[in-house]
Each structure stands twice: as C-alpha cells, then as structure tokens.
Symmetry: C2
Subunit: 190 residues, 2 copies
C-alpha cells in the first residue's frame, strides 16, 4: 500500500474576500476526488469538516456505494469511495495518517496563488510522491474548497506545491479538476 | 485565438452494458469543463445533446454566469462559461468549428478503454495540440458522458487518444477529471 493520502479541507479555507470560513461538503467532490485518488493509487482521502452533520452526509454517500444499492449497481465505485474518511480537523487527519504509516507524513499543501514561501516544483513533488509510493516517507496532499486553503494551513505545511500553470492568466480550476491534474503530475505514468 | 475546441457528448454514448444511449446534462460538467477549457486556452466548448430542453438548461446556466447575478458575484466564471455552446449533434459542432477556423478540425476522441485502432500517444497528441494552438491545424477533442463515446464516434474520429494510465487497474475517472488531465497533458506548461 502506498503511503500517499490526500485531504480536502472545508475549514479553515478562504472566501472570496480572503476571510476564513467553513464550506459545505459537495457530493461530487466526494465522488470525483475519491475516483481520482483511487486511479492514482492513494490510500486514503480525508474529507475534513468540523460540522458533525456533514460527517453523517459523507458516511451516507460512501455507505450507499460501499454497502448499499449502489455497490450492486456500480461495483467499481466502492473501490474509490472506501478510501474516503470524514474527519473533524487537519490535526486528526494527520494523527490518523501518522498512526497508519508509523510516522507523521510530510504535508504538501496546494494553492492556486503563485506568491508565497516554501514553493515545491512539480518535479521535486514527484520525487517525494515516488518515495511515498515506495513507503519510505509518507505524504499528505492538502486541497482547499472555497477560495483555497487558509494562510494558517499554508504556513504550517512542509511544502506548498507550485500552482498549476494557467494559460492566458486564468487561474480558476475547480478543486476536482485541480486534484486530478496534481495527482497526474505527481503520480501519473509518463 | 487558439484553434482548439472540445465537445462533451451526451449522445451517442454507451451505458454500462455497452448500449447506445443519451445521457442528461450535468450542471457541474458544464462548469468544471468550461473552467478547465478556459485555463488551458481552448476557444470553444460544445455541449452536445439532441434534447432541445437540455439546450435551454445549458443556456440558463451560462446566461446566469455570463449576464445575470452570477456575473456580478463571480466575474471570472463568465470567462469560462462564455466558451460553452449547446449543439444538437457532433456534426453540427464540427460544422461550426470548421466555419470558425476556416477548415474542418482534426477530431481526437478520448476513451478509457485501451483496445482499439488509431491510438494516439500523449506525446503525438501534444504536437497536434501545439500546432492547433498556433492556428495551423484546428483540433476538436471529444469526451463522452455515461460509459464513454459510442463506437461509431471512435470509428469516425481521426485519432483516439491513449487512455490515461490508471494505477492498480482502476480506470473509472469522472469525465470532469479526465478532461482536466487530458488538457494538462496536451496543453499544460512543462
């Protein structure tokens, strides 16, 4: 099993004006990122939200597809959704990953903004991801909903991945698209 | 303006059993693929469905964000959604692209299945995309909803792009994730 996990944060994230907010869980974020994570061999996908009712929602989605009628109708979906675990905070995701892998993972945050310290090139990120795939040093990749991860998360991460290059100055991919592209750049066969 | 367009087909596509069906338009397919297309410099995104009521739905989504309250609240979204045009068939998308670019585009179909003729490597696809970006030879990239493009579409395409490599035998990315990865592989800055 690879020692690469990802987490989608619904808190603390930024709103349009830069204020720190909590966003709602989106059904297709659960599905799409789980399917992308499964495709690229990640071993767990943490859905991070402090709102307990949203954990119930995430569990209802995943259980439908991992145990319920969905599994009978579309058996490959459970292989993806079984990676998905709701947790209350980034700290609890880190603690769970540390317990599973035997050591605290390196944290790679992602951001669409190009400014800021600790920037990791995709090439260097690929080396870290390959080491994590081999089980040497676990890695946790963080994605933000809303308008991106709060500064406190970027500040506490070990690395902040370089932004995905946008042509013509556009820089507003969905988090579902960004996660897919980042997994492919870090882990995809070339 | 680049001579690269894409089309998302809701017909003719396959269902789970391989039968040819028409799927429904999904709101997030319109948004996510428009945003990815805009990010990678495509010039038009055809949403292909023979169902007239679905054209009304697509127009209602795009007009909300290109003219309505959405444009005031989130101005960058209109830059993406203005690329989106509903059309009744692949033939009409091709005719429109031919009219806009002055010649019929090369058609590159995409498929998760690995078997089949006319397979185009990502490296060769990148050369075609670069020529289209320079305006030399227009390209139309086709994506299928449901369980993928019908054989009649793959048979009529000039090329069928190699599948995105999945690790561990999983091969069930969402079309939103697949489109993002394919744009990045064909057009992303390296």
């Amino acid at each position: 099993m690879s020692a690469i996990d990802c987490a989608l944060l619904h808190h603390p994230v930024r709103d349009r004006a830069g204020a720190v907010v909590t966003t709602s869980v989106t059904n297709l974020d659960v599905h799409d990122i789980a399917r992308s994570a499964r495709n690229y061999g990640l071993s767990r996908y943490y859905v991070v939200t402090p709102i307990e009712a949203q954990h119930t929602l995430v569990r209802r989605i995943t259980e439908h597809w991992t145990h319920g009628a969905g599994r009978r109708r579309m058996p490959e979906r459970h292989e993806a959704l079984e990676l998905c675990h709701p947790v209350e905070s980034l700290e609890l995701a880190l603690a769970d990953a540390a317990q599973r892998h035997g050591r605290r993972p390196l944290v790679i945050a992602t951001a669409a903004r190009s400014e800021g310290p600790k920037r990791l090139s995709f090439e260097a990120g690929r080396e870290l991801a390959e080491a994590a795939r081999a089980g040497t040093e676990p890695v946790l990749i963080l994605f933000g909903t809303g308008h991106g991860l709060a500064n406190i998360v970027l500040d506490s991460a070990d690395h902040v991945l370089a932004p995905i290059p946008g042509q013509f100055g556009y820089n507003h991919l969905s988090v579902r698209a960004a996660a897919a592209i980042i997994f492919d750049r870090l882990l995809g066969a070339r």
